[in-house]
């Protein structure tokens, strides 16, 4: 005889309790796992065996203004037109200087290719002020948290010719000894070429937050 469960009030609480106990165990196991991580994470020299949080995609926020020749685009139009190209360039710069530099082999040709020829040799000598630099060898991953830029673009006939960019970049870098913040604050003087932008001069600093 099949008896509906609800017709037997004496067995219902036990069934519910069993289900809840199973759920409870699952939840507690999950909680304990979390708690275990928390315990190790409190140490400055946390193990890199634990997976890092997934990196947010690098996205440079550019706020641009423009100076335009008489009779050309409006300054507003010019700034709007120039912004995507600047974003693309700065994205590439930060990718070369930080994101892809982590664990790199010390070959900075991709980054140095973004500099105008008359300033490239100086950039090569000052990589620590422009990128992860020598620290790159110890870094396994860079997770961007903020990338923003303010740009003043000089427009020529129908196209940008030069720009001054103030770039700010903050990220977390993971090493075997733990993780730490890295920062970049730069003023870049950019020259527009047929192939995009090139850095014609810079004033830059890197390192931990002040």
């Amino acid at each position: 005889m099949i008896v509906p469960a609800r017709s037997n009030p004496g067995r219902r609480p036990a069934v519910v309790a069993g289900l809840l106990a199973a759920l409870l165990l699952t939840a507690l196991v999950a909680g304990c796992t979390s708690g275990g991580r928390s315990g190790s994470g409190g140490q400055a020299t946390g193990s890199t065996a634990a997976p890092a949080a997934p990196a947010a995609p690098l996205e440079v926020q550019v706020a641009a203004t423009a100076r335009v020749p008489p009779g050309e685009l409006s300054a507003k139009q010019a700034a709007k037109q120039a912004a995507p190209g600047l974003e693309k360039f700065l994205d590439r710069y930060l990718t070369e200087a930080y994101v892809d530099a982590a664990g790199g082999d010390g070959n900075w040709s991709g980054l140095l290719g973004l500099f105008d020829t008359p300033v490239r040799a100086s950039a090569r000598k000052q990589l620590d002020a422009l990128s992860l630099g020598a620290a790159a060898a110890d870094v396994s991953a860079v997770r961007p948290s903020r990338a923003s830029a303010r740009a003043v673009v000089l427009y020529g006939p129908q196209r940008p010719e030069a720009a001054t960019v103030r770039l700010a970049f903050d990220a977390t870098a993971d090493t075997a000894q733990g993780s730490g913040q890295v920062h970049l604050r730069s003023v870049l003087q950019l020259l527009a070429t047929g192939e995009g932008w090139r850095i014609a001069a810079f004033d830059s600093r890197t390192g931990p937050p002040k």
Binding site: A17, A49, V119, G133
Partner: protein, 319 residues
């Protein structure tokens, strides 16, 4: 009844015990879930900046050139409607003539100021006042005249007018000049007291033009013109140090007010280089000459020491 009551008790007790147990489990479950879903402290020290990944570094650079750059700056007396000067700027007479020589590697240079009445050979036009060369053949002939005179290769020229100079100075907010004498020159409209002054466009033009009441006449005027150029450099550097985006402002102003054969990429590089070359590392050198006459006109004959000066510049001796 009692039995009946007793007999009826165990199911109720079991139910009560079960309910209490369920309630306890629910509480425990909720607690477990709260623990499970609450934000975790990470295994790595990513929130705590636990390690110093990179020490602080600072660096800067402007374009580096290992060469001498020679720029002829020209002030035309034409193409200035605001001053009632019609005609083409390029076909006017060149009333202000400076040769800016920069040793880009050593970050030092010289500004040679030429009297506009310098009596010199002009290719294809005999000998005449140097300021006539532009009227004869535009900036290219003026450049050729200077190259023949000095033996220097001139890389570029930059040409402006009365309107251009005044607008340029006004647009950049004035220039700081060490006025080196009290000026009361009503011909040029120059009324300035000696000392460090911020000149607006009109005052700067007057300072560059004043001649008749100056003790050194055309030579003092040439020197003032060179001084004005270097004052502009100093003003540029101060503004850019305060706000690097001022480089764009100055380039924008130059584009509007100056005609030049400097390609834009080179212009930007030179402007950036100029942010690092102190005006004090430039010598302001009026080219030596003596007043004279030629064909009934007053002219300036360049002295032998002028040619010695050119030779020293050619040899790279800018100090």
């Amino acid at each position: 009844m009692t039995r009946g009551q007793v007999a009826g008790s165990p199911p109720r007790r079991r139910r009560a015990v079960a309910l209490v147990g369920v309630a306890g489990l629910v509480v425990a479950l909720v607690a477990g879930l709260v623990v499970a879903v609450s934000p975790r402290r990470p295994a790595t020290a990513q929130e705590g900046a636990a390690v110093t990944v990179q020490r602080a570094h600072a660096g800067s650079a402007t374009p580096a050139f290992n060469k001498r750059i020679v720029l002829l700056t020209i002030g035309s007396d034409s193409g200035a409607p605001k001053f009632g000067r019609g005609g083409s700027m390029e076909r006017g007479r060149a009333d202000a003539l400076q040769l800016v020589v920069l040793d880009a590697a050593k970050h030092r240079g010289a500004v040679l100021s030429f009297p506009r009445d310098s009596y010199v050979p002009i290719p294809g036009h005999g000998t005449n006042k140097i300021n006539a060369a532009m009227a004869f053949g535009g900036p290219p002939l003026l450049v050729a005249t200077f190259e023949r005179l000095t033996g220097l290769t001139i890389d570029y020229y930059a040409l402006t007018s009365f309107d251009g100079l005044t607008d340029m100075v006004n647009k950049v907010g004035g220039v700081q000049v060490n006025v080196d004498m009290n000026l009361r020159d009503h011909f040029a409209g120059a009324f300035l007291d000696k000392g460090r002054r911020k000149l607006n466009g009109g005052q700067a033009l007057a300072y560059a033009r004043a001649r008749k009441t100056l003790p050194g006449g055309d030579f003092d005027r040439s020197r003032h013109q060179g001084q004005l150029l270097l004052s502009g450099l100093g003003t540029f550097q101060r503004q850019v140090a305060e706000n690097p985006a001022r480089v764009m402002t100055w380039l924008d102003v130059l584009r509007d007010e100056v005609r030049t054969d400097v390609p834009f990429p080179e212009l930007l590089r030179l402007a950036l280089l100029a942010t690092k070359v102190p005006p004090s590392s430039f010598k302001n050198l009026p080219v030596p000459g003596a007043a004279g006459m030629a064909g009934g006109a007053s002219v300036v004959h360049l002295q032998p020491s002028a040619y010695s000066l050119f030779a020293r510049i050619r040899a790279g001796k800018l100090s």
